[in-house]
Structures are given as C-alpha cells and as structure tokens.
C-alpha cells in the first residue's frame, strides 16, 4: 500500500503539500493499493499508444485522401470565367500536395488547427457536419449499450443462477436468431414495426453480451471456491455478488470496449435506414457520393472513440483484477 500524500507529491509537490496539510492524521487511512498505482503509471504509455495509433491512422487516412479519385481535380478549374493564369495559380497552390509526406504534414497542421477539410458531396466543412451529428450518434450508442448490457447481463445472471433449462433454451434460440440477422435487416424490421429506432443498437449488442456473459458466468459458477461457498450454505445473491461476478468482472469489462465498436458499426445501417441524422448516416451518404475526405475523418473519429473506450475498459479491468488480488 502507498501513502496518498507521497503519491500526490510524485505528481505535484504542491498537491503533496496540500494533502499533508489538510488531510493530517486522516491521511494514514487514505491509502491506495500499489497495484492500482502500477495501472495509473501505465496511463501515459497507453496515451502514447493511442497517439501513435492515431498518427499512423492519420497517415493512412491522408494517403487514402491523397490517392482518392478526383483528388487533383478542382471544380473551380471548370469555371469558364477563370483565365489561364488563374487556373495555373490554382494548380500551383496545390502543387505541394503532390508529395505524400508534404501533404501529410500539411494535413496534420490543418488537423491541429481544427480544419478537417471540406465535404465535396454536402458542400460544408467536415468539422461542422461532425459537430452537428456526433451528439445524436453518441446518444444512440449510449442508450443502446445501456439497454443491451442491462438485458444481456440480467438474462445471463437469471439463467446461471436459476439453472432453468427451458429459460436457457428460449434465450439461446432468441439470441441465435438475432446473431443471424444483419443490423440492416433489424433496422428494416424496426422501420416496418414502427418501433423506436434508438433501441435498435441495444438489440444488436444484446445477443453478443448475453452469449459471452452466460458462458463466462457458467464457467465462474463452476469454480471450486464457488462450489465451496454454495456447500457452506451461502445464499444465491451472496454467491453471485461476492464470488461469481468478481471472477468474471475483468473479462466482462474487456467486452465493454468491444461492444462500443460493435454499436458504432451498427449505427451506419440504423441511421441510414431509420433516417436518424447521425454520423452513421453521414458515412453512408459519403460512401454513396465517394466523398473520401469525409469518410476518412469519420473513420478516424470513430476509431479514436473506440480506442479510448477499449483502453478505459482495459484500465478498469486491470485495476479491478489488481484490487481483487
């Protein structure tokens, strides 16, 4: 165990002093598990990893934008009112972009200034489009994840604890069918049934969570210490909360990051077919219009969000495992 005052001194001497003064004798009780500190010290490494991934992803994205059909052609050049010298000036302004490395650094510079380029199909700045539509998608994803996780986990817990074979069979059949349906078909069925489209992501995520967590909980409930706890007469709820869930928690937390990616992926057909103005619909429109600039930026934004979600679930899982140990 590490004293919280000494820990805060490592981060900032001022913070350490503040802790020593204000916490006083109480600081002896405020201790942090050493394993948790290791996890925290891994944060900069993780941030660096995300940054490198984004930079490489950005380079690949810039390469795609640079190689996209029609990159070197500007609509302005078709304006009959422009003189030959004006057209030449336009071409010279873009001449630097011919070199991929130069293009990448210029592109990166523009990104750092918040300039994500211009959407060819929608004739608007990409940043503006993303700012308008991202909240809608984030809302759908959050709602879908909350719904999918609650339903999937609760059903898995109910089946593992009750050991009711008929419930297991019914749930397995339902999940089996849902896993065989593409998100786009589910979206069409939601439209036909006039069901609230925001729930669709929950239906897409639910079978994956249910299947994974049921397998995990079944495995955890067969562990020797759980059997011993049962044999000693512990109630179902206590066995679940104190013995089964803590064993399965790190792996379930790892699944949380994966489901964020699944939900974002399913957002494309959902928003395209249910007419929800989010970034999924934007990506679909961009793909149909071959607007590579817009598509690449959308892919990078979603990649960044999923990377952060994966890393966060990873860190929480590690901290949980460390505190359990």
């Amino acid at each position: 165990m590490i004293d919280i005052t000494s820990l805060s001194s490592v981060w900032s001497p001022r913070l350490g002093k503040w802790c020593a003064t204000w916490l006083g004798p109480a600081r002896d009780h405020l201790e942090w598990p050493a394993e948790g500190i290791e996890t925290l010290s891994a944060l900069p490494k993780l941030a660096a990893k995300i940054l490198i991934t984004v930079l490489i992803g950005g380079f690949l994205g810039a390469t795609l934008v640079r190689l996209a059909p029609g990159f070197s052609v500007d609509e302005e050049e078709l304006d009959a009112r422009l003189s030959v010298s004006s057209i030449r000036a336009l071409r010279e302004a873009r001449a630097g972009d011919a070199n991929l490395v130069v293009f990448y650094f210029r592109y990166l510079g523009r990104l750092l200034h918040g300039d994500l380029g211009f959407s060819r199909t929608l004739q608007r700045p990409v940043l503006q489009l993303v700012a308008e539509r991202l909240p809608e998608t984030l809302k759908s994803v959050a709602l879908g994840l909350a719904l999918g996780w609650s339903a999937g986990l609760l059903l898995a817990v109910a089946i593992v604890m009750s050991r009711a074979w008929y419930l297991d069979l019914l749930a397995s059949l339902l999940v089996g069918v849902l896993l065989c349906l593409p998100a786009a078909v589910l979206a069409l069925l939601f439209v036909l049934a006039q069901a609230p489209s925001h729930l669709l992501l929950g239906v897409v995520v639910f079978p994956k969570i249910f299947r994974y967590s049921r397998n995990l909980l079944t495995r955890s409930s067969a562990l020797p210490h759980v059997l011993t706890a049962r044999a000693k007469g512990l109630g179902n709820m206590r066995v679940l909360v104190w013995h089964i869930l803590p064993t399965a928690a790190p792996q379930l937390l790892a699944l949380l990051g994966v489901t964020v990616s699944v939900a974002f992926t399913a957002a494309i057909p959902m928003e395209a077919l249910c007419d929800i103005p989010g970034i999924g619909q934007l990506a679909w429109k961009a793909a149909l219009g071959r607007d590579v600039t817009l598509l690449v930026h959308l892919t990078m934004i979603v990649t960044l969000v999923t990377l952060v979600a994966n890393s966060a679930s990873d860190i929480i899982g590690k901290t949980f495992r460390a505190s359990e140990a």
Binding site: T53, I56, G57, L64, L67, A68, P69, G176, V177, L179, C180, L181, P182, A183, A184, V185, L188, L189, V191, L192, Y212, N215, L216, R219, Q251, S261, F264, T265, A266, I268, P269, A272, L273, A283, W284, A286, A287, L288, R290, D291, V292, L295, V296, L298, T299, V302, T303, T306, L307, N310
Partner: protein, 268 residues
C-alpha cells in the same frame, strides 16, 4: 449437440447443391422480367411469386444464394490464407518482427469494420458491371478480414515455435521454409479451420449489410443483400408472407454455419 451439427452440414449441402444446379432448377433467369406479372402471388410457374419488376423470386433466391455461398467461403479462404501467412510468419520469427506485425494488426483491429469497408468501397468505382461488383465486394471482405485471425494464429505459432518437436526438428537440421511448411503449418490447421468457419457467416452478414445499403453487389445480379433489401417494400406483410422466404433461408444458412463449429472449437 452432435445431431444439430450433422443437420446443419446436411442442410448446407442441400442448399449448396440446389444453388449449384440453379441453371437447371430455376424456372427463369434471375434478370428475366415477366412484365405482365409484377408482384405476382406464388403459383406453379412462380413458386415464390415475382418482385415489383416481375422477376421470378424463386430463381433470384437460388442465384442470390449461389453468389453468397460460393463467394463468402472464397473470401474466408483468402482471409485465412492471409492470416496464416502474416500471423504464422510473425509468430515463427518472434522478436521485433512479431512486435511490428502485431502493432500493425492492432492498428487494423482498432478500425471499425463497416466504416473501414465503406471507405475502401468508396475508393473503388461504384458504377461497375454486376460481376465486377461481386468480385470487388468479396475480395474486399477477404483482404480486410485477416487481422483478428492473424492475432490468434500468431499466438499459436509462437507457442508452437517453442515446442519440443520444433526444437528436435531444428536439431536434426530442419530450418527455414521446410520447418515452417512441414512442421508448423500442419499443426496450425485446426486453428485455421476454425477461423475459416467463423469468417464465412461474418462475411455473409457483412455482404448483406453492404447490399442493403446499396454498396454491395450491383443489380440485376441477386445476392442476399439485394434480396433482403426487398423487405423495404414489405408494407403488405399480411398479404405477401412469401416475401419473407429469403430472410428465413438466410437465418437458416447463417445459423447452420454457426453450428458447424463444435463448442470446443469456438472462442468463449
């Protein structure tokens, strides 16, 4: 669940045979339009009726299933081979090669699948002939789906490279390609087999998603994507339940692929 696995294999064989014999079984070509009979009900001539353009739905289901059932396994094979090559080589070489390849794989895996697919699809021409669109769609799936499998194969190849029999083979003079081909690859077969069967339904589902979004196989060639897209006009559900046949067949085929792998072969 052995019976379920056997039933799934038999069902897949029957469907595959029917699709391969589509030229013989189908009453009409998938593109032929019976202009006097749009949206016709099932009859002796049109077992599943016709669509809004008067095309025989049963023929389109047969040909569409053939496209998906032939090309999804082909794409899965391409993915498995790429994964075997990249993952196997990285795991066998170890050290910085493995770290570099796995970093690339991680980068690839962090890209959201459908976003990546539609980005690559947007880079390729959209107005192409149906045959080219089929090839583009499935080649793209095959070329982009290797990362997850490569990770698993790399881990397995790394473990195998440390095994006693490999040490023994090295000691008896085997090295390089011979060691890889004669000793490592045969032991990776079960993992490759599992990855292949996992990839097939994933690719069928992805093609359906792309097709419904209008980014998959081009008309008039049918695929499951375009067949399921017909559900958009399903407002007459009570009057035309036979429109649901492609969906039911789709669910049965995908679940059969899920059942082909035994529980032990599947990841958790």
């Amino acid at each position: 669940m052995k019976w379920a696995r056997t039933a799934a294999i038999v069902f897949l064989l029957v469907v595959s045979a029917a699709c391969l014999l589509a030229n013989v079984i189908a009453p009409a070509s998938y593109a032929h339009q019976f202009r006097d009979e749009p949206n016709a009900s099932p009859s002796r001539q049109h077992l599943l009726g016709t669509d809004d353009l008067g095309r025989d739905r049963f023929s389109r289901v047969l040909y569409g299933t053939r496209v998906s059932l032939l090309l999804a396994p082909a794409a899965a094979l391409l993915t498995s081979l790429l994964a075997a090559f990249i993952g196997g080589l990285a795991g066998f070489a170890g050290g910085w090669v493995e770290r570099l390849v796995m970093a690339g794989t991680d980068l690839f895996l962090s890209l959201p699948w459908l976003f990546l697919l539609i980005t690559v699809r947007a880079l390729l021409p959209l107005n192409v002939s149906p045959i080219i669109s089929v090839l583009i769609t499935f080649a793209m799936l095959g070329c982009l789906g290797w990362a997850g499998a490569a990770r698993i194969i790399c881990a397995d190849a790394g473990a195998l490279a440390q095994a006693d029999f490999i040490l023994l083979a090295r000691a008896s003079g085997s090295n390089g390609f011979r060691l890889l081909w004669r000793h490592l690859v045969p032991n990776l077969k079960p993992v490759l087999y599992a990855q292949f069967w996992i990839s097939v339904p994933v690719f069928i589902l992805t093609e359906a998603n792309l097709g419904i979004l209008g980014l998959g196989v081009a008309e008039p060639l049918p695929s499951w994507g375009s067949l399921l897209r017909e559900l958009e006009s399903f407002s007459t559900a009570s009057a035309q339940p036979w429109q649901l046949v492609p969906l039911i067949l789709f669910i049965l085929v995908v679940s059969s692929f899920h059942l082909v792998l035994s529980k032990e072969e599947l990841p958790v």
